[in-house]
């Protein structure tokens, strides 16, 4: 046994050896390449699951005997609505962490999540309108579920507008975090609105009156699409947070050396071509 090994084992306890330092990943120079490695895989997973989900939803799932083929909007509507609420919670979480621990990357994650969350909220409302028209006879009704989902869209837009209206990025993060955290109250209101109030919107369980095997393919298609949207949201957030890191840290050394690396690699390549 070497001396250094003995010193090492006597000084540190075995638990500490295997502990991962999570704060290491909270620094943009470390996280930037890591996110770059991860996000293409999640885009690929999202694409594969979307193809699979659409196959289940359009080929395997039969026509609903009450709603006809209009029910197929469920394969987009429910996953989009889930993502709109889930992304808001994750956004508020990162914004809150950024506010509490003053970690810049957490706040950047919140900023990166907001546009994707807003998009899913809009898509939930859009597909809901297109589903509501043939089944309820109305594009829109001012009931609890729909109104609270619309408020969620305004919260996302408010968060983004507030952040872009403040020039100082750190102050924008803090103001946005307060808004995001206050807005969290809306998420359980959306989720339980169908139970708390008398509403036109159907409950959490989907009204599928036919044989259980039929319900299974519908449910399966919906879950696969939800997983696809989830993978898409992860990919999109990592993709956007990389962009935000470059924008905010444009004067930082790590961005400078990163740009230097890419330009020298490009130069080497052109040298080789010559």
């Amino acid at each position: 046994m070497t001396l250094s090994h003995q010193v090492n084992s006597s000084n540190s306890n075995p638990l500490q050896k295997h502990r991962i330092n999570w704060f290491k990943y909270a620094s943009p120079p470390v996280f930037y390449p890591l996110a770059g490695k991860i996000f293409p895989w999640f885009f690929a997973i999202a694409a594969i699951l979307a193809i699979l989900g659409l196959y289940v939803g359009f080929v395997l799932a039969p026509t609903d005997f009450q709603q006809g083929d209009a029910y197929r909007i469920i394969f987009l509507h429910v996953p989009a609505a889930w993502m709109s609420m889930f992304i808001y919670m994750v956004m508020a979480f990162w914004a809150g962490i950024g506010l509490a621990f003053n970690t810049r990357l957490s706040s950047m994650m919140a900023s990166a999540l907001a546009p994707t969350g807003a998009m899913f909220t809009f898509l939930a409302l859009w597909t809901g309108a297109l589903w509501g028209r043939p089944t309820w006879g109305a594009w829109w009704v001012w009931d609890a579920r729909l109104t609270s989902e619309l408020i969620l869209l305004f919260l996302y837009i408010g968060f983004m507008a507030l952040q872009s209206s403040i020039d100082d990025a750190r102050r924008a993060d803090k103001a946005g975090a307060v808004l995001a955290l206050v807005g969290v109250i809306n998420v359980p209101i959306i989720y339980f609105s169908v139970q708390w109030w008398n509403t036109l919107h159907q409950g959490s369980s989907i009204n599928m009156t036919s044989a259980p095997s039929m319900a299974m393919t519908m449910l399966l298609g919906m879950l696969i699409m939800a997983l696809s949207f989830w993978a898409y949201a992860i990919a999109m957030t990592l993709y956007r947070v990389r962009c935000i890191m470059l924008e905010r840290d444009r004067r930082a050394d790590w961005v400078g050396s990163l740009m230097h690396e890419t330009t020298t690699i490009q130069n080497d390549r052109t040298e080789q071509v010559r």
Binding site: G68, I73, A80, L123, W126, P134, Y239, M259
Partner: protein
């Protein structure tokens, strides 16, 4: 297979406007978001490369 023909598939039992109106807009928005962020990334990288060139030109000028 529940569809007997492509035209039946596209008709969606009379709900074509609602079903395809949903799926096309969702696809458009999700693809559009990727395009927007790609453009945003390209813009910032271009700006960074430009700033680098200006910076190195300035240091070269100072040496003279």
């Amino acid at each position: 297979m529940i569809w007997t023909s492509w035209s039946e598939f596209f008709a969606m039992g009379g709900y074509a406007v609602y079903v395809w109106g949903s799926f096309s807009v969702v696809a458009l928005f999700m693809a559009g978001e990727v395009v927007l962020v790609r453009h945003r990334t390209k813009t910032v990288k271009k700006q960074l490369a430009q700033a680098r060139r200006v910076g190195s030109a300035m240091t070269a000028g100072r040496r003279i």
